[in-house]
Symmetry: D2
Subunit: 289 residues, 4 copies
């Protein structure tokens, strides 16, 4: 496989399903010298459903600059099919900011994978409502901002965080950030805040899910990565996983095992987002993984 990050572009599309969409899009790209190397599409129903498509294409021989290509696509294709669409370029890495409280496992997993080149992003900062993880974060060469939050200072704290994030975050990752973000905050980053919840949602919403799981006596524990919306724990699910447990597992052991699942699931969801593999539609996700 040719390493082609420099010339890789992606196109995400959502529109009402109608005949001819694939032909129209692929023709457009072909005619302008783009070579499709991945194409995923999905329709909720060929008759009257919603159509989703993700294309990855190579642009070494483009006959147009990117902005001109985008304008041409808007005029020649998107308008005709009334598409919601977005082009992005692998070389323009997304800026990622991480929010964390005291647990370090999810944060470290993301930072390690990023350091190893598995996550195509610029990590711009870590913000925490505790000072504990400063040293661990700074070792990665990433700025750490300590923004304490109390019930009284929450508005100021969020304002400060929004300031820090401004222009520095295409994606905000809640790597076990234990404060609830206000609706206003969330509204600033629609479908651009990913949270890791420590249960297989919709089971065990709310606080202390491992204790809830222990008390219900379930034989599985899990984790869920989802976009954050104004409804706590109710946003579109990106990925989930579980593992088997038994009566022998204490709340503490469930927590340890669960942290392994949280690490994996969060890292996978973040990667999919960064690679433009996720389309949100009506509180659900289409993931072209």
């Amino acid at each position: 496989m040719t390493d082609a990050r420099e010339t890789t572009a992606r196109l995400l599309i959502r529109c009402a399903d109608r005949p001819g969409i694939v032909a129209a899009v692929s023709n457009f790209l072909y005619n302008h010298g783009a070579n499709i190397n991945a194409l995923d599409q999905y329709s909720t129903d060929p008759e009257g459903g919603v159509f989703f498509m993700r294309l990855e294409f190579q642009t070494p021989h483009l006959d147009l600059s990117r902005p001109v290509l985008e304008r041409a696509f808007a005029d020649a294709v998107a308008k005709r099919y009334d598409m919601a669409w977005r082009m992005s370029y692998a070389a323009e890495e997304k800026a990622v900011a991480l929010l964390v409280s005291k647990y370090d496992h999810a944060l470290l997993e993301v930072l390690w994978r990023w350091l190893r080149g598995e996550l195509p992003a610029r990590v711009t900062m870590v913000i925490s409502n505790h000072a504990d993880l400063r040293e661990a974060v700074e070792r990665f060469g990433v700025p750490f901002h300590y923004v304490p939050v109390t019930r009284e200072t929450k508005p100021e704290a969020e304002a400060r965080m929004l300031d820090l994030l401004d222009g520095q975050a295409d994606l905000v990752v809640l790597a076990r950030y234990m404060q609830i973000l206000s609706e206003a905050f969330v509204g600033r980053y629609p479908n651009r805040i990913i949270n890791i919840h420590h249960s297989f949602l919709p089971a065990f919403v709310g606080a202390d899910p491992y204790r809830q799981a222990y008390e219900r006596g379930v034989k599985l524990i899990g984790a869920t990565a989802h976009y954050v919306t104004a409804d706590l724990d109710e946003g579109p699910i990106i990925d989930q996983d579980v593992r088997h447990v038994s009566h022998r597992h204490s709340v503490q052991t469930l927590k340890e095992l669960g942290q392994d699942i949280e690490r994996t699931v969060l890292a996978r969801a973040v990667r999919w987002h960064l690679e433009d593999r996720v389309i949100v539609h009506e509180n659900k996700t289409v993931v072209f993984a």
Copy 2:
């Protein structure tokens, strides 16, 4: 491994944890010529917790008849530790009755495994509120009873079912039986009715869980085998499993995939129950699998 069904006995114990229990039980068995070939134990807390134990032992050289052995155990050991306990004998297979509505997958799975010798039981009957599966059941040489249920006739129907079951059911298996059993019915078979619920409980309690799962956009679907209690979908969980799904799965496909999980999970739970591997305690199960 010697095939030793004729001489295999099992002892299940629950009591407050105290020093010396293992020694007392194993001494008792050794002194009476029983040879332990499996021992599982678990304590919620060595200090002040609850202790559970399952022993499987061979009785070819017993110096006492079984009833005398049981009485001796009661006097010499169980009383001293205030144990809830039960001895059972592999050669005395449990009587199993199956309840089913229209879906056949869970029922057939249990019957097939039984036919192949994987489930140590006598299947005494299948009761259904629909007549559809009569032929499929009778092929296995198992009596089929059609007991229709309407809102009005429910008390009579349950009375008829209890009549049929009387003396013929150590275990009742709800293999997708879509009627809710009354508290009185359930009370007759405490921890002896196993249901397969078509979701990974506690997610999606109630009706049509595959549709609920589809609408929430989860990335996992699952099934849960649990003992039936008066609280619908809230009884002690015996086993659960899940598999990954995606946006591509319609409600119908989820249902098909889910049925495979239901089959496996129910068959496993039934087998564990029949082999005396499950102890219920405070709405949870200890499973010595």
Copy 3:
């Protein structure tokens, strides 16, 4: 989702990767009134690699008969890109013949799923080198042919089987058929014989893999569905799965657990084949599942 089996067609393509393939194919279909409702594609390398594509499309508004459409496609598209390709129609169900020896689990799983409508096929016959399963098969309304095989009679037996299969088998499924088929036999059904091997290949090729697994002390057992080639156990793998085991599992228990995996894996592979989701290339499969 509209039920559209009557009007569903599929197109499988393999060719050298070059720009414009997707556009050419999707244009062709659009221009003739076909509506693409699923498209999967994969390229081993955009530069100089091999390109694979599977399209599923609806043909209610075709402007040509199917044979004419196929000829037009050959002339207008396939020739230009030097494609290996195949069109098929969901309404023309494939004929499936099953070969089995004494173990019934894999066979019954396929027959059950077929009966329940999960496998789009006509099951034309079961051939066995033992008479044991006649009754079980005939219950499904499927003809059963007993063709015993000894070392001496193998050529005659295979000749008889080929006779029986002639015109009656688009796919041959070895559902634990314990005889090795001759190269000549296999050559008659290239990439159209699916076998279930009872190990996670390439581990434990050859006889008695559960015993081999037991003796090596592995912590996983598995099963592999693959196309049969002249090299025993070396054909293209379609699907595999495993589950965890421990020192507690005897050879017999491994066998029982393994049979569950065999059932699932074989049924999945057969379904994918029947839905034209598998393309073989250089002893590997591309599976558009």
Copy 4:
């Protein structure tokens, strides 16, 4: 659960199976004031098989010092049953040395878990045949020794390593150490060297298993943690895991996915070893997990 590391002892036993072993051991412990809080046992066959047992017990009320207890056990119990046995004490953490080459994922996973208190051990050193990971290791406060190896210098290099390890390693962990250790080296640490092999053994022994997996077209990749013996890749398997892959995965992607499995499997095997949960018998392991 009381935190009881200070008073937790473990007893591992292997002997010919005979009646009375459990009674003898549990009596002995009870009579000396030890309270059993976990007991696992397994017999290959109650008649003439091999018996394995692991006990975890609390010693706050011991009537003897540990050495005297051990001697008493030897005299009173072990001799009678001709046991291979070992007592160990949770408070006496095992010394662990890690060997690594250039890949850091397995090493870092073990170090992180250790730092978080999940691995009860003293990590005494990391030895590498490359200098690359010095800084990463020293950040954990762990000494790093660079011991280059060439074909010519291998004996000296191993001698140097044995010197470094002398008295500093109850367990040696090969966290992707790419040199083959000599039989003499291995003989110094029988069943005390754990390697992580990057395939689901016995598939893909030898070099570059991800490439082998890619070329065979398997639908699963995996990793295996095993004790190192003189036979490369043939030692007793402690743990294995796999995940599903498809034709879309390049050798590079398989490698990335596989590294996640390697991390999990190695960490689990090391933990089990440190908690005295693994007994080796005839090139297989009994794992009381």
